[in-house]
């Protein structure tokens, strides 16, 4: 069997719809990951001991288990708890939570590297806690770690393919369905791979630009 351009053109619109879903999922779960990770890290920094231990356990467990297991667990387990979210919602939530755990470690490392003197200076100036966090500590942390965080978002983009497992119509799912309907797998999977690759290529450049822009004049 050889490459068939007509067929490739025919399935392209389906694949591009999958690209749209992939980007939507990356955007939503990326937002959850970035904000959730920050929340976890700040709670682990300031919270009482019980909260710190519980969050640490949760983060370590999330990082030690494959995303697929968590995905199946949520998809099949939540209905038995009386919740029936859609596959899309489940997938976005699971990816968001898993990468929130990863991002929280980045933020935590950033918090640990804020120099003691910065805290002291904020205290000496009489800055309220809220201002110390929002104007002194967090900008420092974000500036130093924007590259690592963006890197996780790129990985998250690639991992959206896993949502194929629960039938969310991401790029890979649409390729599989197209192949299944016509018993031709060469074109759909090759095109899907190329699309993932091509759409990923600018990310390296974009990350470098963001890093350069944000770290300029930083701490």
């Amino acid at each position: 069997m050889s490459w068939n351009w007509g067929y490739a053109g025919q399935i392209m619109p389906t694949l591009l719809r999958g690209v749209g879903q992939t980007f939507l999922i990356t955007a939503v779960s990326g937002t959850i990951a970035l904000l959730g990770g920050l929340l976890i890290a700040v709670a682990r920094w300031t919270g009482p001991r019980a909260v710190r231990v519980a969050l640490r356990l949760l983060v370590e467990m999330t990082r030690g288990v494959p995303i697929l297991v968590l995905l199946f667990f949520a998809f099949y387990g939540l209905p038995s708890a009386g919740l029936r979210p859609s596959a899309f919602l489940t997938g976005v939530a699971v990816l968001g939570c898993v990468y929130a755990a990863y991002c929280s470690e980045v933020y935590r490392g950033g918090l640990a590297s804020v120099p003691r003197t910065a805290w002291d200076a904020a205290a000496a100036l009489g800055l309220p806690t809220r201002v110390t966090w929002s104007r002194v500590v967090l900008p420092t942390v974000l500036r130093a770690n924007v590259g690592a965080l963006a890197n996780y978002i790129v990985i998250l983009y690639k991992q959206t393919a896993l949502l194929f497992a629960i039938g969310v119509p991401v790029l890979l799912t649409n390729a599989q369905v197209a192949g299944y309907e016509s018993f031709r797998y060469l074109e759909p999977f090759t095109l899907a791979g190329l699309l993932y690759l091509l759409l990923n290529l600018p990310s390296v450049w974009i990350i470098r630009r963001i890093e350069r822009r944000v770290t300029r004049g930083g701490f």
Binding site: V65, P66, G77, K158, R184
Partner: protein, 254 residues
């Protein structure tokens, strides 16, 4: 929450699956180490075509996820005339090794480049053959940085093996899904699965900690604690990645 009762008859199957997962993980980690060493050395070399080729290979392999590559090798590759139809397990190990190796290449490269060039010059001045300089001077120091980072990649690889259930390899996740369908006891099945994977990740991490402990740099560090720390403090600390890096203060960024 219910316990594992009712899953009893299926436990041998799950154990089989766990064994398959462990085998695939071990094979892929070994394969990834080989690929990483090859690509990493090429990436650190001064030969421009070799560097460009390995750079291209790494970017290509890292541009898509393991699942996409696995599907391509397993479903699309056989439709090309003359291409082999790989058995599912082999396809899985191949894809995991290549993908893990691409991530590992970056670790190997930065480990090699972190050893200052001045040391190679010093070896040259001392008249050491290049091979000896690499195996006795550069590599032992580079490994001190490579092994811990490769260890966390190996843990990732152990978790990535779960995608092989999609190409009908009967691994832990495959049997977990089968048992869930048969018993309809979602929560205990997946809790058991999560526990197994956690144990596997922990075991892989432990193996690499042990390798790191046995490295020449770690042994040297234990013999002579770094300046600024009392010998007792040096002994009481476990040799983590950070501790072993402290021996060579020039390591880090080239």
């Amino acid at each position: 929450m219910s316990t594992v009762d009712g899953l009893g008859p299926y436990l041998p199957r799950l154990a089989d699956g766990l064994l398959t997962t462990c085998e695939i993980a071990a094979a892929s980690i070994a394969g990834a180490a080989v690929v990483a060493a090859l690509l990493g050395v090429l990436r650190a070399s001064r030969n421009t075509p070799a560097r460009a080729a390995s750079c291209g290979a790494v970017e290509f392999l890292r541009g898509t996820s393991v699942l996409v590559q696995l599907f391509w090798v397993y479903y699309a590759l056989p439709s090309i005339q003359g291409a082999p139809r790989l058995p599912a397990t082999l396809a899985a190990v191949l894809v995991l090794s290549l993908n893990g190796g691409a991530y590992g290449a970056e670790i190997v490269r930065s480990g090699l480049l972190a050893v200052p060039r001045g040391q190679l010059d010093a070896c040259h001045t001392l008249g050491l053959p290049r091979r000896v300089a690499l195996t006795r001077v550069v590599l032992p120091q580079a490994l001190g940085q490579i092994v811990p980072a490769f260890g966390s990649l190996a843990v990732d690889l152990a978790k990535w093996t779960s995608v092989v259930s999609f190409v009908s390899v009967q691994d832990l996740l495959y049997w977990g899904n089968t048992v869930r369908v048969a018993t309809n006891r979602t929560v205990p099945v997946y809790l058991l699965l999560a526990a197994c994977y956690l144990a596997l990740s922990g075991a892989v991490a432990l193996v690499f900690r042990a390798v790191e402990y046995a490295l020449p740099v770690s042994r040297a560090r234990r013999r002579s604690p770094p300046p600024g720390r009392s010998p007792s403090a040096g002994r009481s600390r476990s040799p983590g990645p950070v501790a072993s890096r402290r021996l060579l203060p020039w390591q880090g960024r080239p």
